[in-house]
Symmetry: C2
C-alpha cells in the first residue's frame, strides 16, 4: 500500500437468509476482475457467520479509479444480481484515507 | 448516521492463533465504552472464522473525537493487551467518508 492519501471503498452488507446460489463464485470472480483494474491497491473481506454481516474494503489510488470499477459491465451485472438475490441490504461509503499506522508481532512495526 | 463528511476508523486485524482468553469480553466492553464517547456515530464488526481476519469500522463526527477515544485510559489498556496477547498484526486507517449510498430490499432505498 502507498502512503496516504488514497481511497477506501467501504462495502458493508447483510446477506439474504436464502438463495446463496452462485454467490461465492461471483464474489471470487469480482475480486479477481477488480484487482486487475487501473488504480487497484488491495482488498480485504470479513463476514460473520452468525448475523451475516460482511465488510469488504477495497483500496484505490483515486476516486476516479474506484468509480471506473463501479461501472465495468461485469461488475454492473454482479451488482444487479446482488440486489435481486443475495443482499438484504448494503451500504457503500467512499472515503479518503488520511493516516495509517499498524502493529506487527515480533517487533516488526509499520 | 449523518450526511457525509464524517470520519471512519478502519481497524483490520489478524488474531493470534492462541490465547483468546478475555478477548471477547474486552471487545464487548470496548464497544460499550466507545459508544458512550463524544462524537460516536456507530460501529460495525465482522471476522472470518477461517483466516482470523477481522474488520471493525467505527464512525465519528470528527477526527478529534476519534483521537480522544484512542487515548481513553481503559482503551489504552485494551490496546496494550491486544499487542501483548491477542493480535498477530493490525492496521488502523483514519479516513474521511465523502459519499454514501445504499440498497435495502423491499423497495426501501437510502
Amino acid at each position: 500500500m502507498p502512503e496516504p492519501p488514497y481511497v477506501a471503498v467501504i462495502f458493508t452488507s447483510v446477506r439474504a437468509p436464502h438463495d446463496a446460489e452462485g454467490y461465492g463464485a461471483m464474489a471470487e470472480e469480482m475480486e479477481r476482475l477488480g484487482s486487475q483494474q487501473p488504480g487497484f491497491l488491495g482488498i480485504e473481506s470479513a463476514r460473520n457467520s452468525d448475523d451475516r454481516l460482511g465488510i469488504t474494503l477495497s483500496y484505490w489510488a483515486t476516486v476516479e479509479d474506484a468509480r471506473s470499477w463501479k461501472s465495468v459491465a461485469e461488475h454492473l451485472g454482479a451488482q444487479q444480481l446482488g440486489r435481486d438475490r443475495w443482499y438484504e441490504h448494503y451500504s457503500v461509503r467512499i472515503a479518503t484515507v488520511m493516516r495509517e499506522y499498524g502493529f506487527m508481532r515480533d517487533e516488526m512495526r509499520s
